[in-house]
Amino acid sequence: MVEERVRVVRCGGSRLNFRRAVFSADSKYIFCVSGDFIKVYSSTTEECVHVLHGHKNLVSGILLNPNNHLQLYSCSFDGTIKLWDYLDGILIKTFTVGPKLHALYIPPNAEDSVFLTILKEDPDVFQLVSVKLPKSSSQNVEARERTFVLDYVNRSPKCIDFGNEGEYIAAVRDFYLSVYFLKKKKTCNFTLPSTKNKKNAKNRFTCVACHPNEDCIASGHMDGKIRLWRNFHDEKQYTYTCLHWHHDLVMDLAFTVSGSSLLSGGRECVLVEWRDGAEKNKEFLPRLGSTIEHISVSPAGDLFCTSHSDNKITVIQRNLDARAVIQGLVKDRSISTGLMVDPKTKALVLNGKPGHLQFYSLQSDKQLYNLDIIQQEYINDDGLIQIELKKAAFSHSGTWLATVEQRQENPSELEMQMKLWVFSKKTQGFSLNTKIAMPHDDHITALCFNNAENYERPMLVTASRDGHFKVWVLADDSDIYKKAIGWTCDFVGSYHKYQATNCCFSEDSSLLAVSFEEIVTVWDSETWELKCTFCQRAGKIRHLCFGRLTCSKYLLGTTENAILCCWNLLSCSLQWSAKLNVSVLEADPYSDHVAAVSQSAAGSDLFVFKPSEPRPLYVQRTISREEVQWGVFVPRDVPESFTSEAHQWLNRSQFYFLTQSQCLLTFSTKSPEEKLTPTSKQLLAEESLPTTPFSLLLGKHRRQQDTRSSETSENELVQLPLTENIPAINELLHTPAHVLPSASFLCSLFVSSLLLSKETESAEELPDVDMEENKESDDSDEENDLTEKAQETHNTDLRDDVIHQLSKREEKELRKFRKVDYSWLAAL
């Protein structure tokens, strides 16, 4: 097999909350941007139905085509606007505009022009331009002709809105509201009277929304006020009213379709509905989890959705009932737990929402579930010191999970709790088993379980800055009233009052290595005797890890002074050392490879090696420009079979790493297209209906029926031409009607395709076929209606007639037609 170059691939977890989500006209689908892709979700089942890929850079705006609501426009930082058919996930057209496009607007009555926000001059001056999209049949269209509309606009799409059937544009920037009347080509500027002292003024504009059918503009402000502007045709006579509930800035505003109420959201995580623009008529939907960044309303008016800062989209019904949650990888906070793999689900685990641990499936790019660790009401407010989830670790089999949370108001006051969670088979989730308040007197620096197979005696080691490491064991806590198990401290170890910085169990858990600043100590895990110490005098130990499998006699350590050391545990001596500034050191649990990511000025480099020899097996320079923060080996479902030494490390596991800017990346030999094809194929094959549990059930049932029928027909030795099996018909039936040519044109093609497939079989067999078919339908299904049977036979009769009537010449022509048909369809 040909081995390709290993490349760094971005894998999932892009921001879903980058721009407002968009509803389809029938509210069945939600579209949202996701990195370079656009994702189509079903609004009922939260399932991702399609991924539209084609953009080369971040997608910066999506909107439904106002002239055809089955199409979707998108603009991207790569300077193109693309038109999609979202039901089938097909790219219809690409308009190349040129510069980086920051936002896209299409007023409802504009025929073929769109409005775009582009950079006018560096660093921060943006302008709104309109671009006429030329009508052309070709797929790639140049649309470089831009007309200037408005200058000095904010680049955020929230700050511009089109009002009252596209009569005017409302744009806000800093302390100004500008209204541009498209017909009169006149701009009115408004500012708040209390903004004389600009430095201290807090009523900066944050967002704007226009009433759908009245002359009314709502603007959100930094100080939490919402102002409703009316009479803005005149710069003198304008009026505004004020709505105040938010105590922090208003993040987004949206009017409902009828315009009867206004929705607003902000950092309080509460969606507020203002009825009739009155301050006293308001409804709330509280506890949405995190800051509301965007609000959008479905064109049908029955659904809202809010995008949150924790990469989540909540679908809300008109009566303010949350209906569905689409959750991506939560990345907006610093990852303090690091990356872990849940041994049970093989999901990537890291801290997500405040106080939660998220389980994220890498295969489906979807969050599996959130585990609430802190279990306290989350108050989202500026300057509050929250309880943070600091460390977490899974036991070898995934039965136990240990978490450490802490809150530190000032250096002398530390609140810390360690919690141990047990996986319960009954509920298929983790439940709290033991809570330990203040397990140590200072920060816990490392946490690890022993990784032996003996389930009876799981053991947890915590190392802390207070100079101790503690060993916790599972003890029987049951009495005559109840059966219970709990964790208790078994041993406290220290070494000359140095801070314990790392701890690590050997593969068979017989040895525990704990690093105390510059010194590595090795302890016997049976008797807790200090076996030996290693000291390299090369700065504090940063990482510590034992080799696996054939290399289990080696202990690896990296220091702050950029030295990578490998000690031999049999001879208790240094085996080798290398000068490498390692920022991530991870051992593959399924092979003896160790990955080290080193940090240099140019970027991060990856080194894969075996501890037994200092020579790296594989080196890749500059895997990322920024610092790599965390890495983890995730076991593959299906092992690969690379034979070359350099690629062997990819066989059993995949290395995922997280950079400083929270990009989740991995290594793959496949090209991105190849990686994507299986999923996209599968998506195309699916029906465009939202996949509900019911449809899944039904689908299974249908499939079974299909296989059963095919089995029976195989027994009969005659393959009947089922309409589903002919690709042309299939395609014809599944392509939306609006992109197909007229029915009169298609009819002959359709019939011909039926005929020709039949024609391949010899004419003598035909009568037999009829008989067989009749027989089969007689024998097999009693449920079949008689009428249906009659129809079938009638159809076959007709076909017979047609075949008899066709001449050789006509057949040839039809064949030609069919070819034409195919190419034409393929071009779509």
């Binding site: 506890r287 009401e377 108050i379 407010d381 509050l384 108001e409 005559i480 220290s494």
Partner: protein, 528 residues
Amino acid sequence: MAGYKPVAIQTYPVLGEKITQDTLYWRNYRTPVQIKEFGAVSKVHFSPQPPYNYAVTASSRIHIYGRYSQEPIKTFSRFKDTAYCATFRQDGQLLVAGSEDGVVQLFDISGRAPLRQFEGHTKAVHTVDFTADKYHVVSGADDYTVKLWDIPNSKEILTFKEHSDYVRCGCASKLNPDLFVTGSYDHTVKMFDARTNKNVLCVEHGQPVESVLLFPSGGLLVSSGGRYIKVWDMLKGGQLLVSLKNHHKTVTCLCLSSSGQRLLSGSLDRKVKVYSTTSYKVVHSFDYTASILSLALSHEDETIVVGMTNGILSVKHRKSESKKESLPRKRPAYRTFIKGKIYMKQQDDIMINRPAKKHLEWYDRDLKSFRISKALDRVLEPNCVIKTPEVTVSIIKELNRRGVLANALAGRDEKEITRVLNFLIRNLSQPRFAPVLIRAAEIIIDIYLPVIGQSPIVDKKFIVLQGLVEKEIDYQRELLETLGMMDMLFATMTRNNSAPVAEHVPTELPEEEMTETPCQPADADKSS
């Protein structure tokens, strides 16, 4: 959508005894009634029939007490010497007792003079019992013999001379009229069958046997002697089931609770212990003022009577449960609970289930709607402050976490601030509450510093608080001094001994120190 999450109340380990069903059950007795007898109370026995009178054997008298009587309702005093082991018959009509002079006497409860006198033992008879058929009496004496007497004829039927030492305890089977068990100072417990003239089973207890007890089923035998209680499986031919050593002096008496689920033992170490008869673990223990010689439980465990060496009889009555019933509370009718839940779904109906409403505490309801001052007021009510200070502290901590503690504490009048200060004074020095309360105290001082001197009551509280903090500082200093001294001692020890001792000891000590030291930052503030 996640609902409101209630405030997590920090739970602290309760020192001492764990609260279990058993402790609740066995604690539910009134304070004991003490009755002074003439000598050591060697035996207490309850009549098996209502009104459950009990016979107390002490010195040369047998007193019969009624259930709640402090004075004996009847006394049998016609003994020449010490009486032993007054035991009721199953029907509660007859009473048999042994005595120091070797005579076994049978009394009618209503009469005064003995009905029968069985003479045949040459030495003191310490144990007597009725057999299951009610017509025979078994007695064991210090002349090493066990005798079976016939009541109608007042004749001796059988004599077993198998023990080689004093026979001090015995027990007849409740099911089989021919079986009885005796325990002796020769360390054995023997089971006799009246149909044979030999013992049918003999188990070796290991110590002089003080008490034996047969389970109602007759399958298990419990013997006590020395510090041991041993349980024997009779059906397996006297196999030792379990050996208990929970007392630190001789176990003198045994007793089963009325349900048969618990075994009680009294000992010379002044304790009564309660064991579960399934696991044989101690589930509860009572303390008494003197060494216990006898112990009895009445029907349904209504009364525990314990006789002691100093002649005091301690009677504990179970608390009546009528108290709870005395508060007639109007409860909602049954139909309010099932309202809407019994509706049968018709065709085309769509059932919409309202999610169950989570019960929230009052302070949680206030916190849910951000009424912070009110939430704090609720947990500062005297009931909460005294019973559950940890709830108050948890709410203060939660307010601090929300960053609104200052707002909640501000704007209080004299009465309200006194309440807060009282709570602080009461709990500030407790290490488990100190970190949270010190912060609250700092905030209060910051807020109310400008108005100090306006209210003498509040000023007084502040002075008390100051005194408390000063005392705490002194205490800390003393602790540190002690620690220094101990460090020095350990240092000298390491020179003498091997290294590992020093390795472990310092690891434990700083923890103690750390739990106390958080007080110090506040002290600095206060003094400034």
